[in-house]
């Protein structure tokens, strides 16, 4: 076994102590113990820069945006649209017109289901997803299938939690109207080969939606290099506010798509006889948007880029590797999800204790982790388990915290052994 010191010394170029100072919640105690926050795959904590940007916006910059002729409205509209440009650069989208603000990944997927796929789907068509999707990338498609008589097909996964790419190729057919695939699995941590999958789909003329909720905080995303038709992600897993997310869509798709919701801000011209819809992205942003959420998301992306996504990824990979090694030293532990390519997520079971009991006992030690099915019940069914315990890592986590976590698991064994 490697000592914690030895691994710390690998040096990922990240000044974790300085980063931790930027996150006020990390100074919190839980049940008298320092907080060890390992529930980042559910939602990441917020740096002071994001909290300040939100407070400053409400205190000094706030007004409704678009169409205002007064100073505050015009100024905030500029900042809001500048975040759109920022996000386009962040994921390397060709144009900010391809960045649609949504409430989160879930709404982004529902938008594609309603506005892109629904009008072109008929009985006998197929939607292809994978066995490791989050419920948000299953249920919207199931709802379309119920409506239209189309069929949902599922790419199986191996015991390690890796996609069966041969089965994927076989399942792609003339009937396939869309592929929906998760970039990084929230339940298993698997990083899927989405670039290769998109190439295979495009060879058959099939568009692909990538669920990037879990990947964007850990992996550099380049939507042009991937050639993704749609790419969805959430702000709150990227150290930004809740209630704001992003749909990237190729402009030629967005231009052909019907609106998602009707209302203000998404029109060019309205009479009772006819309404002419606005161009993308406004066409998909009816009503007053989550303005301050967008400002907060912009601050979050600035923060992540100032730290450096590549350095963050290297640090999290080292943490994941160390945590996996340490975890396997604990008696009775079984890791669920042992793919070669993994990011940020460590799902596991203990022989003696149910995940729910593990979660309660670790909470008493100040360690926050998630237990349950992680909104991926088909993954649990695939492994014939009801639930897992899941530790997930972020830029501010440390090797010492992993040691606290492992000692807490040994406590579980003492209590239940």
């Amino acid at each position: 076994m490697s000592s914690p010191r030895a691994i710390s010394n690998i040096g990922t170029g990240l000044d974790v102590e300085r980063i931790r100072a930027d996150f006020p919640i990390l100074r919190t105690s839980v049940h008298g113990k320092p907080l060890v926050y390992f529930d980042n795959a559910a939602s990441a904590q917020k740096p002071q820069a994001v909290i300040d940007a939100i407070a400053h916006c409400y205190a000094h910059e706030y007004a409704n945006i678009h169409r205002g002729v007064h100073y505050l409205s015009e100024s905030l509209t500029g900042r809001y649209e500048a975040v759109r440009e920022r996000i386009a650069r962040f994921v390397n989208a060709p144009s900010a017109k391809e960045i649609v603000f949504t409430r989160g990944t879930t709404e982004a997927i529902n938008l594609v289901a309603h506005s892109f796929l629904r009008p072109r789907l008929k009985a006998g068509d197929e939607i292809l997803i994978t066995a490791m999707e989050h419920h948000s990338n299953i249920v919207p498609w199931q709802m379309l299938c119920e409506e239209t008589g189309a069929e949902l097909r599922v790419v199986p996964i191996s015991n390690a939690g890796e996609l069966d790419l041969e089965a994927y190729e076989r399942l792609l057919s003339d009937r396939t109207k869309l592929v929906g695939v998760v970039h990084v699995s929230n339940a298993l941590g698997t990083v899927n080969p989405v670039k290769a999958m998109i190439e295979l789909a495009h060879a058959r003329g099939v568009p692909v939606l990538v669920d990037g909720a879990q990947s964007v905080p850990h992996v550099r995303v380049d939507v042009q290099a991937l050639d993704a038709d749609f790419f969805a992600f959430s702000g709150h897993k990227l150290y930004g506010p809740t209630g704001i997310g992003v749909l990237y869509g190729k402009l030629r798709h967005l231009q052909e798509m019907r609106p998602y919701q009707g209302g203000g801000d998404m029109i060019k011209y309205v009479t009772f006889a006819k309404t002419e819809y606005a161009d993308p992205p406004q066409r998909f942003e009816a009503g007053t948007p989550h303005i301050v959420g967008v400002i907060g998301l912009g601050a979050a992306i600035d923060y992540v880029e100032s730290v450096g996504l590549e350095a963050i990824a290297a640090h999290e990979d080292a943490l994941l590797q160390y945590a996996t090694e340490r975890l396997l030293e604990v008696d009775g532990v079984r890791v669920i999800g042992t793919a070669v390519a993994k990011a940020g997520v460590l799902s596991f079971l203990m022989k003696q204790a149910h995940p729910h009991d593990i979660g309660t006992i670790l909470d008493q030690e100040g360690v926050a982790l998630r237990t349950g099915h992680h909104c991926a019940q088909p993954v649990m069914d695939r492994f014939c388990i009801p639930a897992t315990a899941r530790a997930s890592f972020a830029m501010y986590n440390t090797f010492e915290e992993v040691d606290v976590f492992v000692r807490a698991l040994e406590k579980v064994n003492r209590l239940f052994g």
């Binding site: 729910h356 009991d357 309660t360 639930a387 209590l415 239940f416």
Partner: protein, 146 residues
């Protein structure tokens, strides 16, 4: 650790390790499935009711220590009870966990589950088998904690 010891008392750990009446009853007169959608815990409760009395009761399932022990203790307490007594036991247990009542004498060993009150996220683990029992007695096929 003191709160944890309250929660995971020896009786609970014992019933988790060696659940009593953990089996199916073929030809049960009453039967229901219980499901906690939050954590995925599942339990099935079987009863044989003869002349208004619980002649046999058993359960199967896959759950945490709290739900397994609660189900196991429940089956121990129910055997030989009339349906009215079973309902009274349900009410007393429910009050204990959700109403803050002191353990009633009739609850017997079930009183050890009072520690769950200090862990609000775990109350539904303890009540799931009981809601499943009630569904079975009312001839409803399913119970959930929602």
């Amino acid at each position: 650790m003191s709160g944890l010891r309250e929660l995971y008392q020896e009786v609970i750990l014992d019933h988790n390790r060696n659940p009593r009446n953990f089996r199916r009853i073929e030809g049960a007169s009453h039967h229901a499935h219980g499901h906690n959608p939050l954590c995925g815990d599942k339990v099935e409760v079987f009863l044989v009711v003869e002349d208004g009395v619980v002649a046999d009761v058993a359960f199967e399932g896959d759950g945490c220590a709290i739900s397994t022990a609660s189900a196991s203790l429940m089956t121990e307490q129910l055997r030989g009870k009339s349906l009215a007594e079973a309902q009274a036991l349900f009410d007393q247990f429910h009050d204990l966990l959700t109403g803050g009542a002191e353990p009633a004498k009739d609850l017997g060993k079930l009183g050890v589950l009072a520690g769950v009150r200090e862990f609000p996220t775990r109350v539904k683990c303890a009540t799931l088998p009981w809601h499943t029992l009630q569904a079975a007695l009312r001839r409803q096929p399913d119970a959930t904690t929602e």
